[in-house]
């Protein structure tokens, strides 16, 4: 196979000078229903191989599928959230192919009658501008089994001696969301691709229909890329009128960063071929996360003749308009709007809000504020040690905090202890360490560790006097109005007090004595 040689690529900026990129993204989302699409088998991730399999998803003769009501509702809600039309009547279809990942030798999918079609998703880019991604369709289907390839190099299918199949995943409800050709993005095509997948992930998370964990495969992206000659600016009519070039479909692009990199790579690779007078082979490409390149997969040929026909074992799905409107009523506030509202409520700067969003801490902060903390404190504590540690562990902050039992209520309580003057900042950090170490609630940790600001003003005053006496030059500066010099004295006072003092109070005392 062609894995050994890397293809020639053209410098990205040069490629952009000569060509106009067009993309199409196909995203597969596993719904997190309790059961599979057409049978009552559970959908738990990571279960023992072949332990969540029954006659229906094993394709045994005579077994009859029945549609999961919740999956249809989720599909409709996804369609509505993507501003799609919802079909009044649609059918499932059999997509026939021989491959051991589906024991039935077909995948139950939808063909020319998707449940949702003709929608769009507005995607915010880093500079604050918006790109509208047109949605062609969102249809229901089922996931396939998982194969382990034995005997080849590094577990790849090529050169494998045989394969081992686990059908736990076969039949898990899947929604495939397909965009129309994304034109006019120009050099920002890779950024737009990433922003779209990111916005889609946020939307699906807000809908609470999927775990949307790209690393676990519950959200997967295939990226189609083609180039056409550049004849003007990306949105010029003349440019938009140029026929689309031949596309390649890069499979298994399973992180946001990879989506951006894979699109960029394919653009540079196509550009090198086209510029050299060659032509693009319509084929699937495999993305390699480690090396950041794609390699040739299978060529689209007549082997891909799926002979779709209406699934005779499933009756049509015909959601009433009442049902559709009732489901529309369950849609959450769109993530983009919600973010803007929260940012304004919390008084965060754009940069602060972006950090919070990137850290995945929006919900945590929302709950922490609801539990009584200030928005500033909630941000400070969640984005501090817990975020740093979650990052180091390669986990998202929500599951990391949940794993350690750290809750928004804890952070609110910690903030309360600081606000009430019981803890200073450095003590609060120690208390948080204790909570992260499983020592209990903030109050319990503070009690157990004997952390409490000395409320004895006499002791503090004595320490202040001692430090002023020991530093006559600094004291003189402060007397002359150089208030910033107080910082040096505060540090020493805190040392005298072994950290058990309120730095704010120490500052007040120092200034009172020297002004």
């Amino acid at each position: 196979m062609s894995t050994a040689t890397a293809d020639a690529v053209m410098d990205y900026d040069e490629a952009m000078g000569k060509f106009d990129p067009v993309m199409g993204l196909e995203v597969h989302v596993e719904l997190h229903t309790a059961t599979k699409m057409f049978c009552g088998c559970p959908t738990e991730f990571g279960a023992e191989p072949n332990s969540q399999v029954c006659p229906v998803c094993l394709g045994l003769p005579g077994a009859l599928p029945v549609v999961n009501e919740k999956a249809v509702e989720s599909a409709i809600r996804i369609g509505l959230a993507l501003n799609c039309e919802i079909a009044e009547w649609c059918r499932f279809a059999r997509k026939n192919y021989f491959y051991p990942d589906m024991p039935k030798n077909f995948q139950t999918s939808q063909y020319d009658e998707p449940i949702a079609f003709e929608g769009y998703l507005d995607v915010e880019l880093e500079d604050g501008s918006t790109y509208r991604v047109e949605i062609e369709r969102a249809h229901m289907e089922e996931d396939t089994g998982k194969s382990l390839h034995i005997g080849g190099a590094t577990g790849r299918i090529h050169g494998a001696d045989h394969s081992l199949v686990d059908y736990n995943r076969a039949g898990i409800p899947l929604i495939e969301i397909v965009t129309k050709p994304m034109v006019g993005a120009g050099e920002r095509a890779p950024e737009v691709a990433k922003a779209y997948v990111s916005a889609l992930r946020d939307l699906l998370r807000a809908l609470d229909v999927s775990d949307v964990k790209m690393e676990q495969g519950s959200m997967r992206c295939d990226a189609n890329v083609s180039l056409r000659p550049r004849v003007g600016a990306p949105l010029d009519e003349a440019q938009l009128a140029v026929p689309l070039g031949t596309r390649t479909e890069t499979k298994n692009v399973n992180s946001l960063r990879s989506v951006e990199r894979a699109v960029r790579y394919e653009i540079s690779r196509h550009a090198a071929i086209l510029d050299g007078g060659g032509s693009i082979l319509q084929e699937t490409r495999h993305w390699h996360e480690d090396t950041g390149i794609t390699t040739s997969g299978r060529v689209k040929s007549d082997a891909e003749d799926y002979r779709y026909f209406p699934e005779p074992d499933l009756v049509p799905v015909a959601p009433t308009r009442e049902t559709v409107e009732a489901l529309r009523g369950t849609l959450p506030e769109p993530p983009g709007l919600r973010r803007k509202r929260l940012q304004s409520d919390w008084g965060y700067s754009d940069l602060e809000m972006r950090d919070v969003v990137n850290a995945g801490a929006v919900e945590l902060i929302e709950e922490t504020v609801a539990a009584g903390a200030s928005a500033a404190a909630a941000r400070k504590w969640w984005l501090g040690e817990p975020s740093r540690r979650a990052n180091a562990e390669g986990q998202d902050i929500v599951s990391y905090a949940a794993g350690l039992g750290l809750t928004p209520a804890h952070i609110a309580e910690l903030d309360g202890l600081v606000a009430a003057g019981r803890l200073n900042d450095s003590m609060a950090r120690q208390v948080l360490d204790g909570v992260l170490a499983g020592e209990g609630t903030p109050t319990a940790v503070a009690d157990a560790r004997g952390l409490e600001l000395v409320q004895d003003d006499g002791a503090l005053e004595a320490a202040v006097d001692k430090v002023i006496d020991a530093n006559p030059d600094v004291a003189a500066k402060i007397r002359d109005g150089k208030v910033t010099a107080a910082g040096a004295l505060i540090g020493q006072v805190m040392k005298e007090m072994k950290g058990q003092a309120d730095a704010g109070k120490a500052r007040e005392l120092i200034l009172a004595k020297l002004q």
């Binding site: 059961t35 088998c41 191989p49 051991p100 045989h162 394969s163 005779p312 009756v315 799905v317």
Partner: protein, 98 residues
């Protein structure tokens, strides 16, 4: 329905993973052609104004609640497998066509 070509039959055999010798291909072209011709008689029925039908019963929206039902268990699932390994179905090499 026009007649079936030898290439059509070879293509279908490939899709169905059925290996046919040249002699078998020739025979199938004839046999399948007869079948198609017979079925084609149905096309003489007057269907103008009749909507295509895929399901004989006028039913829609047959669903079940999203409630877990017991699976078979891996042992029973694999009992019918010609070969199993690591609690998985062992299947022959998948890619040997290129």
């Amino acid at each position: 329905m026009s007649s079936l070509s030898r290439d059509d039959v070879a293509h279908l055999a490939g899709l169905a993973r059925i290996e046919l010798s040249d002699a078998e291909l020739d025979r199938m072209v004839g046999e399948l052609g007869v079948i198609l011709e017979s079925v084609a008689k149905v096309q003489q029925a007057p269907t103008e104004g009749v909507a295509p039908m895929s399901h004989p019963m006028p039913l829609t929206n047959v669903t079940r609640p999203d409630v877990v039902r017991p699976s078979l268990g891996a042992e029973a699932v694999l009992a019918g497998a010609p070969e199993a390994e690591q609690q998985r179905f062992s299947v022959p090499r998948i890619l040997d066509e290129d």
